[in-house]
């Protein structure tokens, strides 16, 4: 466990400097009240306070002091000034209120859960706690789901957060993270002021600066880059962001397209698989509420799936109101798997093989939807049968370990339930080196049974965000730069439809000298913790040659801020503005609002607030992108098309502020959009070719199906593309202009010239790919998988005490059979050695780095962790949750209860610092200092799994293969 930062920091405050510490024992020095009072007499008025007013009834002051600077006579004593500045004691008010029992702050505060005790029922919660509280809508941002929330605000303070029933997607539901928003807002270690680094980078030595100083310095650096025409060397690197418009406006106004994200660490393969079939959407919205059969491959929707709260709610409605059966295939017994009707634990990365075998069996048993396949896909039943002929259930049993009888049974159950049957999947299947193909195979099941776009089936919507009715003030023209960091040419499907990027390679590419960064602005990002190869990330972030200037925007001092040059305190999602929405399971768009429920604390500011100021300081035309007035003016403009609510008479921003969200319920759910008939207007001037493809001015608009002219799918064939010529050709850098035109998705482009020479062979059909090193895995090796808990996101919640109390550590999960084989039992420690993928070394030699062991394998790292034995894990897998193992990010995240150094920590100190929660409930502090012999189960703050994870992008899309890593296990004696 890393705990040396503080020690270094302490030691680096030199004892011999100009501001050296006293060597005296202060407890014994003489305290002279008389001397002290003499100093007081001199100090009176020196700093502008002495002449405070005491206003009389006429509002006239009897005495006042003014001056912000000390006024002094020659001997240093202050002058007296007789003007009233409006500060001091108001005599009239005091006399009116005299004798009132002013509260002393001893009341129970929101945010502290007092343990049940003798007085608990009597004293808590206070009866009138929420009386007269104002309800203010907002949207949570402690994960990607952005549930609608309502804040109860009284006297300028937020008392409680609850779900907003007006939010059409989340329907008033809110998970534990959302309820812990109060911890987030009022956390005692929040960043409240801009900071400037004063030691070497990563040393942890800072001073406070003003916003003006900070923005001036940042502007100077950015202006230099801009003036030199090196715009692309300014990178903006975001973690979870919901202010897309504000970021895009700033970066486009600046002129850089180097906007980096974490999408490839999250969902790149699933999105690319969906896009291959659909083109118009990267996000399947499984209509589980209306389903009869839910086939889950590796999604943990009850805990962490993107949009999991509305999704989980609808899954349970589907199961318990609609009678749906749910079957889960997952290496690990997640809470979703545990709450399914059946759970199967396949060998890691074999979900696609199981799905193909199910397709094979459905076709074999003639249970397929012939009409859908022949009409709406671009392959015939016979072609599909032929393609899948080798993918038998017996073959799948061999690779996955799932009995063929179960594969056959479930396949038929799924087909019988169709079209109200849907698959669902997520990182369990997609975060693998074969993840693109896994998800292609899983999605294929829906086409085979004809549930694509059907009620209760596998659906999607073209609205991934806000209802397009709302429009921001005019945006600047898009930037035109190119950077290998934003668009690495080795990954053909990373950016071809959407900018998914390949986030995990950026630090390696910087280290390899493939790009330069003169300025790097991080935003809500914790890459040292959440990115693979922690040590490499830290090495690059520390290097002032590779990243010359780093500005970090965050609410907390996290592992990224530690390596910044300037840290800017960011507002929480309860203190700032956004219009926001995500792809809704109602299959229609909506608009939600995030609004300041309370004034920002300290000097925290949002980018909507300071980007305009920064742009004006940079100048050179950037300021022209900020002509819209104030942030509230911007929001008024943005929301103005939200229609009036006839009941309240409110529209636009007023309506959103009143209700929190608006959904146009006149918009029909997006079922079977491919069957939408084209209108005469659509068809005017169109042409139809021999295949039935309808184009207008060379751009595809639909397809002729029998006598009907319909919209079809927005793909080159206007059909559900089981066979994708496009992915095959574009990956080889071939000209796909005609295919793109036929799809009508004209924003899609051929790969840029910078990609030439980087051809990749991507199969045009859904297949399953064996991962080499998995096939020949040794007896002392396992495959490492990761997971999220229902109370945490990846890197931003372990600082919240209500959540940390529930989950704070992450021993490795091991199957008892595996543990027995290694002679291990609960609480034993193991040493894990992780390896780079041999398959990837061949496919992506550009990534090769690291140290080889005696056998020639490339080692990533070693780490010691304790184990817990669980039947709920595949015997060839080992699981560790993420979220844990912070070495910055507040004492809560570090599980530090008591001060370990001189001075007092913000955590808990029995003598001085009073946090009842922390003192009584933080039982998990670990003082073993990494000594396995002293460690107690369920203590400590865990281990960062990313010390072991290699940079491992799927060669097709660039998705980080978090679940494919082979690790060697050794018992620590």
């Amino acid at each position: 466990m890393e705990s040396s930062n503080r020690t270094d920091q302490e030691n680096d405050i030199s004892d011999s400097g100009p501001c050296a510490p006293s060597k005296e024992d202060h407890s014994s020095d003489a305290y002279s009240r008389r001397n002290w009072l003499q100093l007081g007499a001199l100090a009176l008025g020196a700093f502008g306070l002495s002449g405070c007013s005491s206003k009389n009834k006429n509002g006239q002051s009897s005495k006042a002091e003014q001056s912000t600077t000390p006024k002094k006579q020659d001997d240093g004593s202050p002058n007296t000034v007789e003007d009233d500045l409006g500060f001091g004691v108001d005599l009239e008010k005091w006399q009116k209120g005299r004798g009132l029992p002013y509260e002393t702050g001893d009341q129970k505060m929101p945010g502290v859960c007092q343990l049940p005790g003798p007085g608990a029922k009597r004293n808590w919660p206070p009866k009138n706690k929420y009386k007269d509280a104002k309800k203010i809508p907002g949207m949570c941002q402690l994960c990607s789901t952005i549930c609608g929330i309502i804040g109860y605000v009284k006297e300028g303070r937020l008392l409680k957060i609850e779900g907003n029933p007006n939010d059409p997607n989340s329907r008033g539901k809110l998970c534990a993270r959302g309820h812990a928003s109060l911890n987030h807002l009022y956390h005692p270690e929040r960043l409240l002021f801009p900071l400037k680094r004063v030691g070497s980078r990563g040393e942890g030595k800072w001073k406070r600066i003003s916003w003006d100083e900070a923005l001036t310095e940042i502007a100077e650096k950015l202006k230099t880059i801009r003036d030199a025409g090196e715009h692309q060397e300014f990178a903006f690197h975001q973690g979870r962001q919901r202010s897309k418009d504000a970021i895009k406006r700033f970066l486009d106004a600046f002129g850089t397209k180097t906007q980096l994200s974490h999408r490839s660490l999250c969902s790149g393969n699933r999105r690319a698989a969906n896009l291959t079939y659909l083109w118009e959407s990267d996000w399947d919205l499984n209509d589980v509420e209306n389903s009869k059969y839910i086939l889950n491959f590796g999604s943990n929707a009850f805990e962490a799936h993107q949009g999991h709260v509305p999704f989980a709610n609808r899954i349970q409605n589907g199961r318990f109101k609609n009678g749906a059966k749910m079957v889960t295939f997952d290496v690990r017994l997640s809470n979703t798997a545990g709450n399914s009707d059946e759970w199967f634990s396949p060998f890691p990365g074999t979900d696609g093989a199981i799905a193909l075998a199910m397709c094979h069996w459905i076709l074999e048993q003639q249970k397929q939807d012939n009409d859908f396949i022949n009409t709406w896909t671009n392959v015939s039943v016979d072609q599909l049968k032929n393609h899948l002929k080798e993918n038998t259930p017996e073959w799948a049993e061999k690779v996955s370990g799932i009995p063929s009888a179960d594969i056959k049974r479930i396949a038929i159950e799924f087909a019988n339930a169709a079209p109200a049957a849907t698959t669902m999947c997520n990182r369990g299947s997609s975060a693998h080196l074969n993840g693109f193909y896994n998800d292609r195979a899983i999605n294929l099941l829906n086409a085979v049974v004809g549930s694509v776009g059907k009620k209760g089936g596998w659906c999607w919507s073209p609205w991934g965000g806000l209802d397009p009715i709302v429009k921001t003030p005019e945006m600047p023209a898009s930037a035109k730069t190119w950077s290998v960091l934003e668009d690495p040419p080795e990954y053909p499907l990373a950016n071809v439809w959407r900018r998914m990027r390949v986030g995990e390679i950026i630090y390696l590419y910087l280290l390899q000298g493939r790009a330069k960064l003169q300025a790097y602005m991080t935003y809500n990002l914790d890459s040292p913790l959440t990115w693979p190869e922690e040590s490499l990330t830290k090495e690059v972030l520390t290097n002032e040659e590779l990243i010359k200037f780093h500005v970090c925007i965050n609410c907390f001092y996290n592992e990224t801020a530690h390596y910044a040059d300037i840290v800017l305190p960011w507002t929480t999602f309860m203190e700032r503005w956004d219009l926001d929405a995500r792809a809704s399971y109602n299959l229609r768009p909506y608009v939600g609002i995030r609004t300041p429920m309370v004034e920002p604390l300290g000097e925290a500011r949002d980018i909507r607030d300071f980007f305009p100021e920064l742009a004006r300081k940079i100048g050179g035309g950037m300021e022209e992108a900020y002509q819209y007035g104030s942030t509230e003016d911007y929001m008024q403009h943005w929301a103005q098309k939200v229609p009036e609510n006839p009941e309240t008479g409110k529209s636009g921003l007023d309506r959103l502020l009143d209700e929190g969200a608006w959904e146009n319920q006149a918009t029909a759910p997006f079922y079977e959009p491919y069957n939408t008939e084209l209108t005469a207007e659509d068809l005017a001037g169109s042409e139809t070719d021999d295949s039935g493809l309808i184009t207008k001015d060379g751009i595809g608009i639909g397809i002729q199906i029998g006598e009907k002219t319909v919209r079809g799918f927005k793909t080159p064939s206007r059909k559900f593309e089981i066979h994708s010529l496009f992915v095959n050709q574009v990956s080889k850098n071939q000209d796909c202009s005609k295919l793109i035109a036929n799809s009508g998705v004209t924003k899609t482009k051929n790969r840029p010239k910078e990609h030439q020479g980087h051809d990749v062979d991507v199969d045009s059909m859904p297949i399953w790919l064996q991962i080499d090193e998995h096939e020949k895995i040794a007896d002392n090796e396992l495959i490492m998988t990761s997971f999220k808990w229902n109370v945490h996101n990846h890197g931003r919640t372990m600082n919240l005490k209500w959540l940390a109390e529930i989950v704070h550590s992450n021993p490795a999960w091991l199957n008892p059979l595996t543990a027995e084989r290694f002679g291990l039992s609960d609480g034993d420690w193991i040493e894990l050695t992780s390896y780079h993928s041999e398959m990837l070394e061949k496919a992506s030699p550009n990534l090769t780095h690291g140290v080889r062991d005696e056998s020639g394998r490339l080692v990533v790292n070693t780490m010691r962790v304790p184990i817990v034995t669980m039947h709920g894990i595949h015997p060839k897998a080992i699981a560790m949750s993420n979220s844990c193992g912070h070495w910055q990010y507040t004492s809560v995240a570090k599980a530090e209860k008591f001060p370990q150094q001189k001075g007092h920590l913000v955590g808990s100190d029995g003598e001085s610092y009073r946090d009842a929660d922390w003192e009584r409930n933080m039982w998990w502090e670990d003082r073993s200092q990494g000594d396995p012999a002293k460690w107690q189960q369920n203590t400590g703050n865990g281990w960062n799994q990313n010390r072991l994870m290699p940079i491992s992008p799927d060669p097709v899309t660039g998705q980080q293969a978090f679940h494919s890593t082979v690790v060697k296990i050794q018992k620590v004696s």
Binding site: P18, D29, V89, D90, E103, T104, Y186, Y913
Partner: protein, 202 residues
């Protein structure tokens, strides 16, 4: 009588001298020391009186101003392991707890000169304490009221813990000694305000 005794000279003590101490501490805690303030501390009277208290203000050089700013940041601003100068944090473990209501009530008639979006900043509270004492000096009829005592007990006394922690956290002799002195001052003021003779006069 021992001059460290809280009883010492209370009859003689000038309310304004006490207000001046609160004012000085408010200045030191509200923001970093700047060159101008250090120049003031260099003047003969200031220097002599500081030295009498065994406190030696640093010279007003750029390097020392920087060192003090770094130390101030370590002690009060962070970014980690610091001593947030907000009463809510020390009483309740979070920013802006319910005692903000109490601060709002007091600020309804005691207007601090400095601004902070977080009302229970110790520096603000010290300013307000200074105002109360000056106010009582100007309005002899108010000296018997419970305002000073009540505000002190509600919103200043807690700062003894902050000052003790800041003394340990600081690496700078000037701050260490001043904060240490401040902690002792508050301890004495606590005894003073809570002595029987300070009971409110009806």
């Amino acid at each position: 009588m021992d001059d460290t005794s809280p009883q010492f000279g209370h009859q003689q003590e000038n309310l304004l001298s006490r207000a001046g101490i609160y004012e000085l501490l408010a200045r030191l805690i509200l923001k970093e020391l700047d060159e101008e303030t250090l120049v003031l501390f260099e003047s003969p009277r200031w220097k002599r009186l500081f030295n009498l208290c065994d406190i030696h203000p640093p010279e007003p050089t750029e390097a020392l101003v920087e060192s003090l700013a770094i130390d101030y940041c370590r002690v009060f601003i962070g970014p980690n392991q610091h001593c947030p100068p907000y009463q809510s944090v020390w009483n309740s473990g979070q920013l802006a707890s319910e005692l903000m209501d109490s601060m709002s009530q007091f600020q309804d008639f005691i207007k601090p000169r400095s601004e902070s979006s977080i009302k229970d900043h110790f520096g603000i509270q010290l300013e307000m304490m200074a105002f109360i004492l000056v106010f009582q000096n100007q309005n002899p009829q108010e000296r018997g009221s419970n305002l000073a005592k009540h505000f002190f007990n509600s919103h200043v006394q807690w700062g003894q813990r902050l000052m003790a922690a800041a003394t340990k956290r600081s690496d700078c002799e000037f701050y260490q000694k001043t904060f240490n002195m401040a902690a002792k001052w508050i301890a004495h003021e606590t005894q003073h305000f809570n002595s029987p003779e300070q009971a409110p006069k009806k």
